[in-house]
């Protein structure tokens, strides 16, 4: 083979490899895109939390507002907990009870307490969408979940401040929706499982409409969180996410 032929062959091989390199998305990029798909400038939603345990099913309804990746406010509207609010601003979570004269600030382990006896913790309800700040990610391969081709990723916590030291998530390759997740301790003990049952398309993004969560520390217990309405990128008063507004 002449030198010219070799150069042409090498060039062709390089050109063939370019599309391959371009299409090989990294684990970090998947997570960034996934977080991006779940984050809006602002959002307003209404929905319900249905908790089923040994005593039967219990439904709580709520309204929720979010702003960016770290601010969220949830107000419960069901009779049993009407007027109770959860506010999360960067790094802090506050509970407002209509009959309490002071706000209750949750921090540390208290954030992992159950919300209204459900399988959801306060942290689950209001988690910030900055996954890469807290976790290192490894791409384990692909799997089909409910007919959707998904990336399988393992997230390992960088700090001890997070609720779940290990997360295994199944991210849709097309929509970047997390169809399934398994949350474990550092030793591999399963803590919670999450599965998306139904989706909604808003603003061109596929989002979970109905999500089932099972706290594996509780026996015979599961929670379905469902969204009835979801509006995104709507004008919101910034004061919504302040302590003053919470007690108003």
């Amino acid at each position: 083979m002449s030198n010219r032929t070799r150069v042409i062959t090498a060039t062709l091989l390089c050109l063939l490899c370019i599309p391959l390199n371009l299409s090989a998305i990294t684990a970090d990029e998947i997570i960034k895109t996934m977080d991006g798909m779940q984050t809006f400038d602002t959002s307003y939603s209404t929905g319900s939390i249905t908790t089923t345990d040994r005593f039967g099913a219990k439904v709580s309804t709520f309204k929720a507002w979010t702003q960016g990746s770290s601010d969220s406010l949830i107000e419960f509207t069901s009779v049993a907990e009407r007027g109770q609010k959860i506010l999360r601003t960067k790094g802090s979570l506050y509970l407002f009870y209509p009959d309490a004269e002071e706000l209750i600030r949750l921090q540390g382990a208290a954030l992992r307490q159950s919300v209204l006896g459900s399988d959801l913790s306060y942290e689950d309800m209001t988690e910030e969408k900055n996954t890469l700040d807290d976790y290192t990610v490894r791409l384990d391969g692909s799997q089909i979940v409910n007919g959707h081709d998904c990336h399988v990723l393992t997230l390992t916590a960088k700090t001890r401040q997070v609720a779940y030291p290990i997360q295994k998530i199944w991210v849709d390759k097309e929509t970047y929706l997390v169809w399934k997740a398994a949350y474990s301790t550092a030793q591999g003990r399963l803590l919670k499982e999450m599965e998306v049952l139904d989706t909604i398309v808003v603003d061109g993004r596929t989002l979970p409409k109905e999500t089932k969560i099972e706290d594996k520390m509780k026996r015979d217990s599961s929670t379905v969180m469902a969204l009835d309405t979801l509006e995104v990128n709507i004008p919101l008063d910034r004061k919504i996410f302040t302590l003053e507004n919470l007690t108003w």
């Binding site: 040994r54 005593f55 509970l95 009870y97 009959d99 309490a100 209750i104 208290a110």
Partner: protein, 411 residues
Amino acid sequence: MTTKLPAVAFRNIFRNLRRSSLSAIAIAVSAMAIMALLALFECMEADMETNLTSYYTGEVRIRHESFEKYERYNPLHLSLDVDAVLPLAKSVEGVEAATSRINFPANLYLDGKNNGALGVGVDFATEAAFIDFPSLVSEGRLPQKGKNELLIGAILAHDLQLELGDKITVLTSTALRGSNAMTFEIVGIASFPVGGLSSKTLYIPLDRAQYMLRMEGHTQEILLQVADGYKEADVAQAVKELLEAELGLGTETKAWKDLNMMYSFLSIAKFIYYVMAGVFFVLGSTVIINTTMMVIYERMREIGTLAALGMQGKELTRLFLLEGSFISMAGSTVGTIAGLIIIAVLGKVGLNFTEAMSGVDMEISSILYPQVNWWIALFVWFYAILTATLSTLIPSRRASKIQIVEALRYV
């Protein structure tokens, strides 16, 4: 000679007064110790019974039939309708008083931290037959119905540096399995006889507890007091049957003795008390037997002399038996009287176990007031005399059979 034996025995006591006194003192101290201990144990048992029936279970407790099964999940939704159950329960013959209570785990939110406590919703008016709240309030007053006011245990208030007039937010789980928080004003501080209550408990009006816990019109349990002459178990059965017949309501209605945990605890406590009393009894008896036997063995020479002078074996035995019984009678009487005086004084002053009981989660009061029990006094008096007198039998019988020559060798 036989007819003179009591006189001789009595005179012998004073022939060596120091020896006789020592023997009597040993018997007196033992009798006194046994008596004081028995009175203390009896007091502890009665105290625990009072505390259990007053502060915890009543004499009969009514709960939803499934409550106990799920108790660890705090199933407040498994409740009783107060208006339906309470009047029916009160109508049963033998029921003297009834009250509703709701016990709930509470977190007291202070300076960003949650502090664990036990909340109790009570009807202060009907509680009078169970807990004498006014006598327990060391500062302030009782909370009023319809107001967000609470009565807090003195140790809990001290630990959390809370005072009268302070406001505190109580966070808890509701009967609807949600959470709720309310702010209460501390209007009273109570010193409960049971340390565990003072260090953990806060009491709020029943209607406020029902509101906070989303239990409007309902209660976790109804407690009953049974009139004298009625058996708690019989009354419990009658109440249970009536509720089933009239309301079709299945309940766990039990006499306090049948509430497994409490009664077994009391049984264990009783057993421990009796073992301890038994040890002291044996120790006390050993002192009496030892002292009496030594007194006889010390006098072998005298026995030999008496035998040489013609006293028969049986007469010797009887003489020492009489001597022993006189000394033990004196010792036992003095010991019993001393024990009675000590108990009477402690009954007024009280035995303070506050330091020793701190951190101990038992339903026994920190300060105990033992009471004089005449039957115990009579028993101990008689027991000490009998033990001491019988313990003279062994050496005096041996002495009566001893050869004169051998007895005189004890010189």
